[in-house]
Symmetry: C2
Subunit: 572 residues, 2 copies
């Protein structure tokens, strides 16, 4: 490709509305342009990267035995009604009506459509297992689209679905997909980790997310210092302490605390260790218990894990915090003075709280706390559960080492759905004994457009993007210096361009009449991994100059060796 | 690919609701499935063809210097308001609202989006000419989707757009695109013709359609017997007769014709040659003339060409026929008795009518006609124009030969838009003299999904589809006979499968435990061009059997020669 026939569209300035570095660099490097909130046009440079990402995914899906299909973007509402998601899905599901006023959706995912197709086409266990995938445009009407293509409304996903006669077959394919995902992200040159994920409302037994590690990530991942264990903080188990509860040493006393509305104020004003305080949060209770709200008790320095709380049968889903009015009506006191002592409502205690002694908590009387509370003596310890987010230094649930926390960007998710969809949609086959069997299902997603942004979060410097070879928009760029003044430079550049193309190398030839500085900084911004600079001065010595985008190193390379030199670089 | 890991989904029966052969065969061969009216899922076999079609288009677009981009499916209404198409476009334009009730459309085409992008990114004539294209999902809410993917609501198009500093540059790119389109359809092995097309409401000077010739085509194409001339019948000019009008031989007489409401009845009851009759059609007049309706006069055996009529400045667009009430109110007589004699309203006369003598027409009195009418003597001949569809035998407008008519399926359209969009959207660049110049634009479409169906209309027999090599879902299929009973057959089939894959041949291995007859008829239905049948009987003689899908010929080929034999077939 010659830049003179191309749409380069680099920007000098960082656009104001781009918050994270990948969004800034994708705009500056001329990869994307915003059409409307959450809607982006992929300019040529961006699309070249996206297509390479898609092709790697396609190749590895094919290797894993999945077969490609393509389902419509527009889906009839009837299928979503069958699974109940027409009602359950929030406003992210964009509902539309056609000219005859029939209801449709813009597909945010395709479980319904694929299950409908497979129940019609697959009749016998002999046709199983079957894995199908597509690379298709999806739409999710995010309330606040942000970070460019990282969280856009229209995006491209690879979504695969597998169908099985039994659990064992599902688990085998799930493992194959795990391997394929590792191959995919390795081939893209990304620093990633598969992490345990919550299976949440969809149910199913197994679920792993694939995260690209980056400081801008929206997710927190817990890693073991000593093993392969990694889990989304939503899922990472906080083990119950193994040290026993200390014996009481203090009497329980009622203390006036009019200026202590928060744990921080209480700790400061009364010089308490924060580990000796507890906080009491009220959430809506589920229909399983006879109380409108239920209290969750956490140590003062711990954070509620909302996913763990929501997964408790006693807690209503989606998790909803009680309002101050509801609390005041039922307790007689407001937030800031709540606690377990004398409480008539049910509560669930975090493991870490259950081993505390001589602790402080609200007295359920405005402006008063109890100090020196002890379990058993002052209040009965009821149900104990894992309610909190893990923190760095917690023992790893795998039994080896302690936990570290890092930020990650979710780029993939693999999921054992089980019979969640196949049951409601009656997707069954005849088994070996001639009886009807509901198919087991798995689903496996990769956000293709998001992968592009995540790669940049992990591969950039102050000058721009640094592409891994496999997903670079071009592998090599030729930058001739003042070509339009030097016939020798022009001839050498044209010849090298032809030679590299003949070797099947994906090469950009910057044939613009621009100042060398502009061309070099554009190419660093775009992040092409390998650059050959052709100028009169180095040619006097029989050389071209090779520059590696990642190391920044410049090396003179004899003109006759440059193709081989580049091939060696690309083979690395 | 092994059929055991694949979703073959062939059907024995022809589905009831499929009217044309491509729709029937795409369903039967397991290429597509209907999800809802005008919405189709592409099953693996269909998608393989579609991807090959897309790749051929992509390669030829790249060769023609066009650069690939990708624009969103969902487009903001504001851009459509800028060009006025928000109001002008009918209900085929699906208008939707997002969660914040902001109006969007599902893009049926992307002129607005690309023009917006280019006006933002391109500032100087130095960046021109620029050609951009995408292969993207489109949506057109057809009132009556039909013929499967031939006229579906969601479909995939390649749409290219070119931008230029002047007309000459546009014309040069238009010619390059013409060449690229010929290369594309030639590579696909299709019998196609570029034909002149009407530029209609969009204006612009040049426009050609690319038609695949097939009896089921919705369009009629006029060809010259002696030259390359070809035009959509909408556009094909009916030349004015060169023979002069004959002198009058009859007096004009008023005849009672109570039972002649149609030309056919008039001709039959009064034994008139149909070439001596004229019919009078009334349509709404445009604001350019001072009459609510205007008459169009055609020879009794000729058909009105609605596109030609609509393009006349005196006729309102869109073409609207007057109602019987409107006619009766203004003329005093009804359809069946209309004609030019004594008429107070304006009329336009077709060239063929202008040379008639002694002809019959309605008298503008119910149940009466005039016979023996002559121009000048009985009624003044006013404006004469080309109003009719050409018929076979008409002289070709190119001056060579006469016209033949054939049916075609429009699969592509290239168009010199001029400044239609760039002017309303203020898409301009700085010219060489530093002054702002509105860009000239071209647009170039191919219906990727429709091409697949059109290919089948042209390539099938009673047993199923016959794919050209370049777009076949698989190039070769291996059909082993009773493999599960013969180790020798199985080994030979596995070895051939591996050998063909190693040669980069796209091969399907039918490893199902099916009866040979079922396997053979499935593969003929799917239309794989080259088949190798492996059986004990032919192996006894050291042969495999090669069967060519198109010729139906079976040839024994020595086992050791079969790879070379297939390579030779594929190279043809």
């Amino acid at each position: 490709m010659r830049t003179s026939k191309y749409l380069l569209s680099t920007l000098k300035e960082t656009p104001n509305d781009a918050e994270i570095v990948s969004h800034q660099l994708m705009l500056r490097a001329g990869m994307i342009r915003k059409l409307a909130s959450g809607l982006y046009t992929w300019l040529p440079t961006g699309l070249r990267v996206l297509r390479k990402v898609e092709n790697i995914i396609r190749e590895e899906m094919n290797k894993a035995g999945a077969v490609e299909t393509l389902m419509p973007v527009v889906q009839p509402s009837e299928l979503w009604q069958e699974t109940g998601r027409w009602d359950k899905f929030g406003p992210e599901l964009l509902r539309i009506a056609d000219r005859h006023d029939r209801p449709f959706v813009l597909g945010p995912t395709h479980e319904e459509v694929i299950t409908d197709m497979v129940r019609n086409e697959v009749k016998s266990y002999k046709q199983l297992p079957l894995s199908l995938y597509q690379i298709q445009t999806k739409f999710r009407d995010e309330v606040r689209p942000r970070f460019g293509v990282m969280r856009s409304r229209e995006f491209i996903m690879k979504d695969a679905y597998s169908f099985h006669i039994d659990r064992e077959s599902l688990e085998a394919t799930y493992q194959d997909m795990h391997t394929a995902y590792c191959n995919i992200f390795n081939r893209m040159g990304l620093d990633f980790r598969p992490v345990l994920a919550d299976s949440g409302a969809i149910g199913g037994s197994g679920s792993q997310e694939f995260h690209v590690l980056a400081e801008s990530g929206e997710d927190l991942i817990a890693f073991s210092t000593d093993s392969d264990y990694a889990a989304n903080i939503e899922k990472a188990e906080a083990l119950a302490p193994t040290t026993p509860r200390a014996e009481p040493t203090q009497a329980m006393t009622l203390v006036d605390t009019p200026d202590a509305k928060t744990i921080a104020q209480l700790v400061e004003q009364f010089d308490l260790p924060i580990e000796q305080t507890i906080k009491t949060l009220y959430v809506k209770a589920s229909e399983h218990i006879e109380a409108p709200i239920i209290a969750l008790l956490l140590r003062g320095d711990h954070e509620l894990n909302e996913v763990k709380a929501e997964n408790l049968p006693e807690v209503a889903a989606p998790l909803t915090f009680a309002t101050e009015e509801e609390i005041r009506e039922l307790i007689g006191a407001g937030p800031g003075s709540l606690g377990p002592v004398g409480l008539k409502l049910p509560f669930i205690t975090d493991h870490a709280v259950a081993v505390m002694s001589d602790f402080a908590a609200g007295a359920n009387i405005d402006d008063k706390h109890y100090f020196g509370i002890n379990w058993g003596r002052d209040v009965e310890l009821g149900q104990v559960a894992d309610l909190r987010n893990v923190v760095e230094g917690d023992p790893s649930p795998c039994g080896q080492g302690t936990l570290l926390l890092k930020r990650g960007i979710e780029v993939g998710h693999i999921f054992q759905l089980g019979t969640n969809y196949s049951e409601s949609m009656k997707a069954s086959v005849l088994g070996p004994d001639g009886k009807s069997v509901t198919m087991e299902m798995g689903c496996y997603g990769i956000g293709c457009t998001r992968v592009v942004a995540a790669s940049i979060e992990q591969n950039h410097d102050q000058n721009g993007i640094i592409w891994p070879n496999a997903i670079a928009p071009f592998e090599v760029v030729i930058v001739p210096m003042n070509m339009h003044k030097s016939e020798r430079v022009q001839e050498a550049a044209e010849k090298l361009y032809a030679d590299l193309q003949a070797q099947g190398i994906d090469v950009l030839f910057d044939d613009r009449k621009e100042r060398p500085g502009v061309m070099l900084s554009d190419m660093e911004l775009i992040g092409i991994p390998h650059m050959v600079i052709i100028g009169d001065r180095s040619m006097d010595e029989g050389n071209f100059e090779y520059k590696n985008r990642r190391s920044g190193e410049k090396t003179p390379v004899p003109m006759s060796d440059v193709v081989a030199h580049l091939q060696a670089q690309l083979a690395q």
